[in-house]
Amino acid sequence: METVKLNRPAYLDCAASTPVRQLVIDSMMPYLTEHFGNPSGGHRMARVSRTAIDNAREICATSLGFDPHGIVFTSGGTESDNLAIRGACGPKGTAICPETEHHAVLYPVQARQGRFVKVTAEGDINLEHLETLLNEEVSVLSVMLVNNESGRMIDLEPIAELRDQRAPQALLHTDAVQAINWLDIAKAAQRADMMSLSGHKFGAPKGVGVLAVRNQVNLTPQLLGGGQEAERRSGTHNTAGIVAFGAAIQCLDESRKSEIERLGALSSRLAEGLTGAIPDCYGTVPKAHRAAGILQVVIEGIESEALLVLLERHEIMASAAASCASGAMDPSHVLAAMGKDRAAAAGSLRLSLGWCTQDWEIEHALEVVPQCVEQLRGSS
């Protein structure tokens, strides 16, 4: 195989991050330059910044189906998840979540001596097991709407039902960091008491996120200081980031429906093409339950780390399971929870699409991925 040189790489890692939309950059730039005033101040330049934040808050509330007072701007998904779980547990409470959550949920739950709910082989929540774990001691139940590795979509309704019956005091939190791209979020999260979002997953920059909370929710703040965000999250507002977040949500709301259709068709083509061309290659969740733009496949008999090196050489940027801080690939706890054996999990590949994805990138992947797999298998 000859190494291909393209104008830019085929970027199929949108679940990791997306580029900032030009419109979003345009919207935020004034708040990095002329409107730099601290929004907590009292003078006119401060008020300009404060107005921009209030506008963004309004936009988010309307889009997400929460009250504006319930929009807490944070630094991103991890902080939102931590604030939700630690903040709602307080010093004594405990939390539960499925085994397939992001580590930004798993570790705070673990830190609260929480319990983990089993999932099915297809990544759905094991409701019978959930029922046994829900009791009067649970302060928070956290369930991700769309899994960041497998793309599995979860219906919160039966989970909220169980919560109502078995642990009505427990708050339902959802990490919707991926879901915001692929679901009518206000509807999908209408039973949630809290929801985490991260800007850079949908065309806003890194370093800004939201925790949306319903009015009755009391949070113990995790950052103490100037009392910003109604005493729930101290720290000077990231004005430009918050403005960008609002602008990106607006873009998303305008395009989501057509993008789900466009990217869903592309990822289906990718799924069918890859599983058809590569022997012993299969998707990890059924199509009906898979978010439109996240495709995870298992390719038996290969190591994903090696495959990713080859794909990069052929100008495809992708990932396997979650990256750890060093840049290495951690073995997938999601696939392990779904009962996939270690060897299968070692050969996983995640190809995730987003607003920037173009048709040629899918065509390129369809051509290159099977060749790379063949190279790895052939020389083993």
């Binding site: 090696a306 840049g327 290495a328 690939m329």
Partner: protein, 342 residues
């Protein structure tokens, strides 16, 4: 020009190896192996070492990857290390890491990825002899690492490069300084990367193993006292036996973990003429006859006779070798094989 994968530990030797190969015009890719632990660990595979390796790769303008061999490391290195201690052996985890991770898993992955060669920063040389490729001691004898590489076959050697093997360590550091590499003055790595200096071997093993109090006796079986953990006592050890100043019973000369007993004796009682061995590996022909033998990573080689039954007879009696230790055979400075002490 070859396509070379350079294993970069974050230290100065592998950094200079990468720089040298790049200067020679090869197409270089760097890789750091993530083997163990989180941000708090020390040694050759911590996150901060990955950072150092990545920064050097950035300086050299080469691609850099991190491969996670954590599970393999646990399975082939850490697990057996703990088991060996439980059985009263003295393992050498660096050798097992070389055997299973660097020169097995990594080498085979490199080949699948189409690399012609894998390079590391080891101080050892690959020499061409009448009988084919052989591993020889590094030019800097004080830093020579051929002992921990004795398992490399001719086939392995044909796929490897040790670019700093011909250099003195001081030259390596000078070159790193000249090139402005950030690891130029980084201290040499510690012996066992997964055991931190602050916690130590005992604390590490006590988390994974039941440690037992052991009786200390003299060579006639008379009770002399006790040790806190018989599993942590190695033949030849002096520290920790709590025996005061009696020179006739200063060293552990025998360790029997199942019986939870340590025999303490004099320096003379620590001596032995013979090492019984298992798991021999030969580079080329099996050897019999006069040979140089090295029994620890930084130990001095000594003359011996290699018996046809595979055991080693010292020319002059030497300190006993702890069971589990690697014993490496040299002819001149060339590794001809190795084995594990019984």
């Amino acid at each position: 020009m070859s396509r070379v994968l350079v294993a970069m530990s974050g230290g100065v030797d592998s950094a200079v190896s990468a720089a040298l190969l790049k200067q020679q015009g090869h197409e270089i890719t760097g890789v750091t192996l993530k083997l163990w632990g989180g941000p708090q660990d020390q040694g050759c595979c911590s996150v901060s070492d990955v950072d150092d390796a990545r920064r050097v790769a950035q300086q050299l303008d080469i691609d850099h990857f991190v491969f996670n061999y954590g599970e393999e490391f646990e399975r082939h290195v850490v697990g057996p290390y703990v088991k060996a201690h439980a059985a009263g052996l003295t393992p050498n985890p660096c050798i097992e890491c070389n055997r299973h991770i660097k020169f097995d898993a990594l080498l085979s992955r490199a080949r699948k990825l189409g690399f012609d060669l894998v390079a590391t920063g080891h101080h050892a040389r690959i020499v061409t002899t009448d009988n084919g490729l052989r591993l020889a001691r590094g030019s800097d004898l004080a830093k020579d690492q051929s002992y921990v590489l004795y398992m490399l076959s001719e086939q392995d050697l044909s796929l490897l490069e040790f670019p700093v093997g011909q250099m003195k360590k001081t030259e390596v550091r000078e070159l790193a300084n000249e090139l402005g590499l950030r690891s130029a003055s980084k201290p040499d790595s510690q012996d066992v990367c997964f055991i931190t200096a602050s916690e130590g071997r005992g604390a590490f093993l006590s988390d994974r193993l039941d440690l037992h109090v052991g009786e200390v006796v003299d060579v006639n079986g008379n009770n002399l006292g006790s040790v806190d953990a018989v599993e942590l006592v190695t033949i030849g050890q002096r520290k920790g036996l709590k025996l005061g100043g009696n020179v006739n019973r200063t060293y552990a000369v025998e360790v029997d973990v199942p019986a939870r007993r340590v025999v303490a004796g004099s320096a003379r009682e620590l001596l032995s003429d013979t090492i019984e061995l298992r798991d021999h590996i030969w580079v080329g022909q099996e050897q019999v006859g006069p040979i140089e033998v090295q029994t620890s990573a930084h130990g001095d080689p000594a003359p011996a006779f290699l018996d046809s039954d595979g055991s080693v007879h010292w020319t002059e009696a030497r300190r006993k070798v702890a069971p589990g230790q690697a014993v490496v055979f040299y002819l001149d400075d060339v590794v001809v094989g190795g084995a594990t002490a019984n």
